[in-house]
């Protein structure tokens, strides 16, 4: 059924090389060295295990919140769902059209005007031009940026950036919506508006996956919550229980 997500025993490792980018000379050096010494490929690369065998299932229409400390693997889960990256082992099965609002400003171009960016960002999110035309008025209304539509967005404040980006996402029509900690920017009024929009989305038949450190927002929107801890799924269940446990662990740790 469209809107379902299933992870089974998903492992994902990233290699952290000494240099961020490979250098051509380094690679050639290694290859020549290998030929000369007739050694097999050396396995000295440092690995970072982002996910260590994670399994879960999300049904269509569910709204799932993911909480956990930085580096726990929350964003990696979203990247795997949106097929930006692939697991080293295990399988990820996703059914349905995905919409992702993952980072402030990704996909927006500073030199272009607000109007041009709405079309560009819409296209990047997979919307058809016709669809954007139809919803253009709503998007602009929601963003409250009518006055600045023809200004290049490099002149926007970061709050205005967030408004523009979220407003486009709010009017797309995916089966699965992924949101990664984006409500930290923007004023209170706009944050509440976004939460309401997401609540509306989750009430419908759509699937929502929401990563946030804002526990109140998670409690308000989600029907289930999972705790990620060092690449493992620690707990998944009703928001009230899971958040309580999360707070217990957290306060215990800070006491120690």
């Amino acid at each position: 059924m469209s809107g379902s997500i299933e992870f089974s025993k998903v492992r994902k490792t990233y290699s952290i090389s000494r240099y961020k980018y490979k250098r051509l000379s380094e690679d050639f050096g290694q290859i020549i060295g290998r030929i000369l010494t007739r050694k097999k490929r050396s396995l000295q690369k440092e690995k970072l295990e982002a996910l260590k065998g994670v399994s879960f299932k999300i049904d269509p229409g569910e709204s799932v919140g993911i909480i956990g400390k930085n580096g726990a693997g929350k964003s990696t889960i979203l990247k795997l769902i949106s097929k930006v990256t692939f697991p080293n082992s295990g399988s990820v099965a996703v059914d349905g059209k995905i919409g992702a609002f993952i980072e402030l400003g990704a996909g927006l171009h500073p030199e272009l005007s607000g109007r041009e960016n709405i079309y560009l960002y819409g296209a990047i999110l997979g919307m058809k031009r016709k669809e954007i035309n139809e919803k253009f008025g709503d998007i602009v209304n929601f963003s409250e940026l009518e006055k600045f539509l023809d200004t290049p967005i490099k002149r926007y404040s970061s709050g205005m950036y967030a408004r523009l980006g979220f407003s486009v996402v709010a009017f797309m029509n995916p089966d699965i919506l992924l949101i990664d900690e984006v409500l930290a920017v923007g004023d209170k009024g706009f944050q509440e508006k976004c939460l309401k929009k997401m609540k509306g989305f989750s009430r419908g038949s759509k699937t929502l996956v929401f990563v946030s450190h804002n526990l109140e927002a998670i409690k308000y929107i989600c029907t289930r919550v999972m705790i990620m801890d060092k690449g493992r799924l620690k707990k998944m269940g009703k928001p009230k229980d899971v958040i309580k446990e999360y707070l217990d662990i957290y306060s215990q740790k800070s006491l120690e």
């Binding site: 490979k22 250098r23 995905i98 980072e103 990704a106 272009l112 041009e116 560009l120 997979g126």
Partner: protein, 260 residues
């Protein structure tokens, strides 16, 4: 491969939006705007005419040197602009690559599309030169269609190849401009292909770009028909290169977000 094309078709709206972005962004806040599309081949033509036409008296085979060089600069500029913008298109859009899914080839192809538009604008000057120098046109000019098509596929293949490799080895960022510069001398832009010594010609003609640009000049300003057997061979080489490049691109694509 048909699967890749099908998916690409699903994202054609994104491709058009990115072409539009590339064009808009490239000329935003420049005084001359889209005139730059013309300025580049035009100014090179003027320099070449002064140095190679007047000073060095390069043999332009009975055709005024300005139109002789422009007829090669036109396809050459298309190739080099595509490469200089497109080969970095993946690394320059790393924020998109790591966040949102779409077939990654739309990024280099968007650069290709923008360069194609520049090419058509610069064609206006070419047409004007025909009138200015009263160069006759024959029906052979229709050969520009298959030659242009091959040129397009060759450029696309080069872009797919380079843009994917730059993600793995950033050093290529410095190699590519150098490579492009050298390639121009290995291509009959400044001089006629006839000047290549007979025993080198076979090797020289293995450079598909040399054949295509020389043919482009032959069918336009010289009203000649191209050597079809040779063109067919070049077409085959280009096709194989395209398949190899696209396959390589798709293979590396899965890891783009992890290594970028």
């Amino acid at each position: 491969m048909s699967k890749w094309f099908k998916e690409l078709l699903l994202f054609k709206e994104l491709l058009f939006a990115l072409i539009l972005r590339e064009i808009k962004v490239r000329y935003k806040q420049t005084a001359l705007g889209a005139l730059w599309a013309i300025m580049q081949p035009l100014s090179l033509m003027l320099i070449f005419t002064i140095i190679f036409g007047f000073f060095l008296k390069v043999d332009s085979q009975g055709i005024p040197y300005p139109i002789f060089s422009y007829s090669a600069l036109l396809p050459w500029t298309f190739f080099s602009t595509s490469i200089s913008f497109g080969s970095l298109s993946i690394v320059n859009n790393s924020n998109l690559i790591t966040k949102i899914y779409f077939p990654r080839e739309v990024l280099p192809l968007a650069s290709l599309g923008a360069a194609a538009l520049d090419f058509f604008i610069a064609c206006l000057i070419f047409i004007a030169l025909f009138f200015i120098f009263r160069v006759p046109i024959s029906v052979n000019i229709l050969y520009v269609l298959p030659i242009g098509f091959l040129m397009f596929i060759l450029t696309a293949a080069t872009l797919l190849f380079l843009s994917a490799l730059v993600v793995i080895w950033r050093d290529l960022k410095f190699v590519i401009p150098l490579f492009t510069q050298i390639l121009m001398f290995a291509t009959p832009v400044i001089y006629p292909i006839e000047k290549i010594p007979q025993n080198f010609k076979f090797v020289y003609k293995l450079n598909p770009l040399a054949t295509l640009i020389s043919d482009f000049r032959d069918v336009t300003v010289f009203s000649k028909s191209p050597d079809l057997k040779n063109l067919l061979l070049i077409g085959l080489i280009i096709l194989i290169f395209f398949i190899v490049s696209y396959t390589l691109f798709k293979k590396i694509e899965r890891r783009f977000a992890d290594i970028i």
